[in-house]
């Protein structure tokens, strides 16, 4: 939450000196994280082409293949380079598909939460007064419940399914965006050009849409990046606690938690490789988000 405050307090201007921008984008850590990110997204997009087998197709998966060590051959002759899990899924394929599931969940929940948060935040920030107080009270209440708990309760009630995980994660996230947008919108609202637009008789919705929105959006980009990483983690944790995606379509998180049952028996690969992938994904997004914040934030310039 601290990061959010930092962002919202700082005024952000994309049009900083482009030379500095370029220099920062070519820093090795940025490049590596960016590269990794592209690779991850590429894998997720072309999962069905890249993966050796389809781990979600129950006609193909067989428990007779279960718990093969890395490099063993499955019944249909495919080599399971990273072994197979307890249900007989090829771990490599399951990671690629699971990555897609995790990303889909994280990104769509971020987008939904962002849209809702943007809407609420802009209205609160623009109109102020009672509307602001009312909306922000809801936001405060929402934020006072720890995200992981709310998501847990919601999912225990909603049941399993990717759509339900997305809904639950969107519900726990929208308030964070709303608060950030509101802070940015308040700063913008008091600026002269908005007041001028208002004097010119432009309608409120037009002012919000044409002026307030574009100028409030940059802190959101950074926030959304970091929140995406966060949601991947939360989704994994929820799967670990036994709610979340259906068992026949595991995400990275559920792969890890299923695999943990086998770790004492020596089948480390079921939980280790997905764990590594999860770590790499979240770390890549986090580093990228960090860099983005530094780039977009003139105050940290040195």
């Amino acid at each position: 939450m601290s990061e959010i405050k930092l962002i919202s307090e700082n005024k952000i201007n994309i049009g900083t000196n482009s030379k500095i921008l370029l220099r920062k984008f070519t820093r090795p850590s940025t490049l590596i994280s960016l590269g990794l990110l592209f690779l991850i997204i590429f894998c997720a997009l072309f999962a069905s082409i890249l993966a050796p087998t389809n781990p979600y197709d129950l006609k193909v998966v067989s428990i007779l293949d279960s718990r093969l060590s890395p490099g063993d051959k499955m019944l249909n002759g495919t080599v399971a380079w990273l072994g197979t899990d307890g249900a007989g899924r090829d771990v490599l394929s399951a990671i690629i598909f699971g990555l897609r599931t995790s990303l889909v969940v994280a990104i769509s929940s971020a987008v939904i939460a962002l849209i809702v948060g943007l809407f609420v935040g802009l209205i609160a920030g623009f109109y102020g007064g009672k509307i602001d107080a009312f909306l922000m009270r809801i936001v405060d209440i929402q934020l006072s419940f720890p995200a992981i708990l709310v998501a847990l309760v919601l999912l225990a009630l909603l049941g399993k399914g990717i759509d339900k995980v997305i809904i639950a994660l969107a519900i726990v996230q929208w308030a964070i965006y709303a608060r950030t947008v509101r802070a940015a919108a308040i700063v913008e609202r008091n600026k002269e050009y908005i007041q001028a637009a208002s004097c010119l008789g432009l309608s409120n919705s037009l002012i919000i849409w044409k002026h307030l929105l574009p100028n409030s959006i940059s802190p959101l980009i950074v926030l959304a990046t970091l929140q995406t990483a966060h949601s991947i983690s939360i989704e994994a944790t929820l799967s670990f606690l036994g709610v979340g995606v259906p068992i026949t379509e595991p995400s990275l998180g559920s792969l890890i938690s299923n695999g943990f049952d086998f770790i004492l028996s020596g089948a480390y690969w079921i939980t280790f490789f997905p764990g590594l992938m999860l770590l790499a994904t979240v770390a890549a997004i986090n580093i990228f988000g960090d860099q983005l914040r530094i780039i977009l934030n003139p105050r940290v310039n040195r």
């Binding site: 939450m1 992981i148 308040i186």
Partner: protein, 307 residues
């Protein structure tokens, strides 16, 4: 929120079907439902709940048959203990590292600290907890796996902090829970240090030729500590919430385990009481922080006025 949770739990499941033994006679099942008040329409149930809540009675747990609030209060010390230790670990480890990173932004050490702090934020708590059990308990056999250990008492306070066995049990879960916060303290401390070091009074102190140890201790530390402490105080609430995960892994007999079981078993009185408990805690923490902040840092008042 209590309303939403109340109605949704009602809608989704009925704990009676799970609790009641299938060999029971049908009139027994009806009797249980009546005892729990589940035979009435949801809005009447809710009204009764509100009436009870006014008198400080949040209902009896369906599963344990005891007041939900009493169960929560009973388990709270264990969670509090865990969260407090995690917080202390976070500060002890995070603060020096963060200050170092802030003082020497371009050194190799800083690089390592900062990249491990990114890793710290990125590793899911549960995965790290599992790995810790494997390494420290199963392979090395150094630390106990689960439970709270022996409880000692000191000045009338019961806590496992006062026994050797208790401390041994506490190390892993507290470290596990602390990890995320360590990364956070590092970042806060670094940002604070960078900011404060650029202020004139530090430059002045340097110009006076004060040793850097002294500058850090008397000029830097008090200034960066205020925001860190306030943020951590607010984060204490999330720490207690996140303890649910850690407690599940390490079988720590705290609130988290209670509430996860309650959620899974749809033990509505406990879930509702827990949510209300956490919110109250959160509000109190916020209040304390606000008061503290205004007291410690006069700038806040000025800042508050220009909005």
């Amino acid at each position: 929120m209590s309303l939403i949770v109340f109605f949704m739990i009602n809608f989704v499941g009925d704990p009676v079907d799970m609790l009641v033994n299938p060999e029971s006679l049908p009139e027994e099942i009806e009797r249980v439902r009546k005892d729990f008040g589940l035979d009435q329409p949801a809005h009447i149930q809710y009204w009764k709940f509100l009436q009870g809540a006014m008198n400080g009675n949040l209902g009896n747990s369906f599963i344990f048959g005891r007041p939900a609030l009493a169960l929560i209060v009973e388990r709270f010390p264990a969670t509090l203990e865990l969260a407090t230790c995690a917080l202390i670990i976070a500060i002890i480890v995070g603060l020096p590292l963060g200050i170092f990173a802030g003082l020497k932004p371009n050194s190799f050490g800083t690089r390592i600290i900062m990249s491990s702090s990114v890793l710290g934020i990125s590793i899911p708590t549960f995965w790290l907890g599992l790995m810790m059990i494997i390494v420290f308990s199963v392979i090395l056999g150094w630390l106990p796996v689960s439970g709270r250990g022996e409880i000692g008492s000191f000045l009338g306070i019961q806590s496992s902090l006062f026994t050797y066995d208790g401390l041994l049990h506490l190390i892993m879960p507290a470290t596990n829970l602390a990890l995320f916060k360590i990364a956070m303290v590092i970042r806060l401390a670094r940002a604070g240090t960078e900011e404060v070091m650029s202020f004139d009074f530090i430059k002045f102190a340097r110009a006076r030729g004060l040793p850097s140890k002294r500058i850090v201790r008397f000029h830097l530390l008090p200034n960066i500590l205020i925001p860190i402490v306030t943020v951590l105080a607010i984060e204490f609430g999330t720490l207690i919430a996140f303890a649910t995960v850690t407690e599940t892994i390490f079988a720590w007999p705290g609130l988290g385990k209670l509430v996860i079981d309650a959620i899974i078993n749809l033990d509505r009185p406990i879930v509702v009481a827990y949510l209300m408990f956490v919110v109250t805690l959160f509000l109190i923490l916020n209040l304390i922080v606000d008061i503290m902040y205004a007291f410690l840092d006069p700038r806040v008042r000025v800042k508050g006025e220009d909005q």
